[in-house]
């Protein structure tokens, strides 16, 4: 039991470290497109974090949250890229 707790905390630590890298790029990005790329990476890492939580607790409830976060990440990045390209999202 303690061994499985240890290994799952290793996965969680790796994904949290990846999220920290993406957050650093989100805060310190030299330009706006770097920040958008950091936000996209943060969304993907959050999806993976929720999947790992779901495997750890053995419940499929986390899957729905992961799906919603993946969908929101796509919409957010597409809208921000459109905003950077054209200056407005819906024209």
């Amino acid at each position: 039991m303690s061994a499985s707790l240890l290994t799952s905390s290793v996965f969680l630590a790796q994904i949290l470290l990846a999220m920290a890298c993406a957050t650093f790029r989100l805060l310190r990005g030299p330009r706006a497109q770097d920040r958008v790329l950091g936000l996209d990476t943060l969304y993907v890492n959050a999806t993976m974090l929720l999947l790992t939580f779901g495997i750890r607790t053995g419940s499929t409830l986390y899957f729905e949250a992961a799906l919603v976060i993946a969908l929101l990440g796509f919409v957010t990045t597409a809208a921000l890229a459109k905003f950077l390209m054209r200056g407005e999202v819906i024209e």
Binding site: M48, G58, A78, A81, K82
Partner: protein, 146 residues
């Protein structure tokens, strides 16, 4: 944690290996996002996590829940299809937006825009020669101060 204890050893081991691979790929991709030099190098790095990393995670989740519930659990394929469809679209949009911004600011590190369609004059039926040359002149003016 209570359910994961009565998993057979082979399933637990392969789930752990797949999870380790996925988390490691996400970490490598995010480190590349942190460390690489320019934006066009950085945009390649997180795709490690968005393709192979998340597919390893989804395979681990499918294997775990299929063994745990002793039936085929495949709803993780929804996230897989979503990622496969949306990742190229978003990154292509973002790269085009960055290229447009760099070009409109006259940055030297990006290639110049492709020439307008003056090499195929038969596509335009005679009249738009002068608007085309005006457009070329405008583009050249925009690039002159670099």
């Amino acid at each position: 944690m209570t359910d994961a204890a009565d998993l057979p050893a082979w399933a637990a081991l392969s789930t752990a290996i797949l999870l380790l691979l996925g988390a490691g790929l996400a970490l490598i991709g995010s480190l590349g996002l942190l460390r690489l030099g320019s934006f066009y190098e950085r945009i390649h790095a997180p795709t490690l996590g968005t393709t192979m990393g998340i597919s390893c995670m989804l395979l681990a989740s499918m294997l775990f829940f299929s063994v745990l519930q002793t039936r085929l659990v495949l709803h993780e394929l929804l996230i897989a299809v979503l990622m496969v469809v949306t990742t190229p679209v978003t990154l292509m949009l973002l790269a085009r937006a960055a290229l447009y911004r760099d070009r409109s600011e006259g940055c030297d590190e990006v290639p110049p825009p492709p020439p307008p369609l003056s090499s195929t004059p038969d596509l335009h039926c005679g009249s738009p020669r002068t608007p085309m040359s005006a457009r070329e002149a405008a583009i050249n003016d925009k690039h002159a101060p670099t």
